[in-house]
Symmetry: C2
Subunit: 288 residues, 2 copies
């Protein structure tokens, strides 16, 4: 089974469990809608790739770690789109969750996805020594002081350090994806964090580039939001060429940060491939 099929299968199984006959049907529908059809699944694919590069020995644990991270990502999108934050009407080319189901169910679906993400980790109970570090790694990437929720909260502060804001808002979950991939395969996490951190920063720059220059149809959401909302953006700060240079430097740094492991060559190739997918189509063609 390829990585994407594994992830979709594991996500579907987890989401199905929340929609049994006793579940409130609209909540179950909102949770399903928030997770399917698939987004890029970039974080769980990264988690799987790292576990495989480490010589994965228990795929059920890798799947659990990967979907835990994806469910948290989906939850964060649902809450970030709410009227009190980005007030986004669309996401992935269709109505955002609160536009489709109303604000109460969007809040609750996000909450329930966070809970489901942690519940999924119980799949690691067959190897009890792996569960606690996985739980701690995933929770640290989401909560306060340094996770994605804290990252979003920096938008509510009168002053924010840009690097810290982006590290928390985007980098934390990428670093957790690589760390959790290693942990799921029984390896130490620390050596794998720099790879995730560099990719997280690259992804943030790529997102800034897409927000500045992509077509709305290509990315499935409105563009130019950073300029409109006065949010930091690498293109506004460095110019388009500067931002593309920065992205390429970060991707090279990520590749160089891959620890020695059986699957290092495959992982390097994969990251190069992914990096090209991060750019808007027009730029990717010219950079190829």
């Amino acid at each position: 089974m390829d990585a994407v099929t594994r992830i979709e299968h594991a996500l579907a199984k987890a989401i199905d469990r929340t929609g049994g006959p006793t579940a409130p049907p609209r909540l179950a529908a909102a949770m399903h809608y928030a997770v399917f059809p698939r987004g890029a699944r970039i974080r769980p694919r990264l988690c799987l790739s790292v576990a495989m590069a480490c010589g994965e020995d228990d795929p059920a644990i890798t799947d659990a770690a990967a979907i835990s991270i994806e469910l948290l990502h989906c939850a964060s999108l649902v809450h970030d789109d709410l009227p009190c934050f980005d007030d986004a009407d669309t996401r992935r080319g269709r109505a955002s969750v609160h536009r489709a189901f109303g604000e109460p169910l969007a809040v609750l679906a996000g909450d329930a996805l966070i809970v489901l993400a942690f519940e999924a980790l119980t799949a690691a109970s067959a190897r009890p020594g792996r569960l606690a570090p996985l739980l701690s790694t995933v929770a640290g990437a989401v909560g306060a002081p340094d996770g994605i929720v804290a990252g979003q909260a920096w938008e509510c502060e009168p002053q924010a350090d840009l690097a810290r804001y982006q590290r928390a808002k985007t980098g934390a979950l990428f670093a957790a994806a690589t760390a959790a991939g290693a942990l799921a395969a029984g390896h130490e996490a620390a050596a794998w964090r720099p790879l995730g951190e560099a990719l997280g920063e690259a992804y943030q720059v790529a997102d800034d580039i897409r927000d500045a220059v992509a077509e709305p149809e290509e990315i499935g959401k409105p563009v130019g939001r950073d300029a409109a909302l006065g949010r930091p953006n690498a293109v506004l700060r460095f110019g388009l060429d500067g931002a593309v240079d920065r992205l390429q430097t970060l991707v090279s740094g990520a590749v160089a940060a891959i620890p020695a492991c059986p699957g290092a060559a495959d992982l390097r190739a994969l990251i190069g491939l992914e990096a090209r997918r991060l750019l808007p189509k027009a730029l990717a063609r010219s950079a190829a």
Copy 2:
């Protein structure tokens, strides 16, 4: 150390960890505000009481289970008070979190408290066999299909089964409190659930009674909200005397459901005491 001191101490330690020098200060303040000063702490005290009745052998795990449940309760209050749900201006006698910190930080503080609740459970990692069932028990009490988030979501359905709604919205976290108390002490959880379920239902009836007849100053939030919002309420359904009878029947049932254990007598006495605290002062005097 008495139960309340243990709980406050463990909560303060957990909350302090989220407010380090790298944390967004207003998020940290909102999280602290949502948890302190203390509410009744009825669920974590129940969790501790059950663990002690079972012959607690690792207090750090009991504390972790107890505060996990309390943090989830606090998170649910923050989100339930939001304008899109109860739109409550006050809670525990002062401004609700979104009134004090704004809606974005209320959403995020609730999210971060959910994450912290799961992170707290890593304290059980010293006894790896207890972590997975604790995680599963706590998550099941909060998420979909049957946890408190699902309970709240029944308010968004055109039709809801009243018993299922209340079991999910209130009963689930009480049942988790007793189950987690047993698990934290290395006991099986199943035998302890009926006690939590009966107490959860009793608490719901008591809450209905307070909403209908207490003074706002006594309960620190507006009264008469159920009638105003068309929500189910035992007093509206059975009358005041009928609701008080129902409460007393449920408490007797709870006491009868205590499994055989070393501390059963103490636990019975404690529950009797707590039950009297559930009633508004005027009624408690006449029922004494």
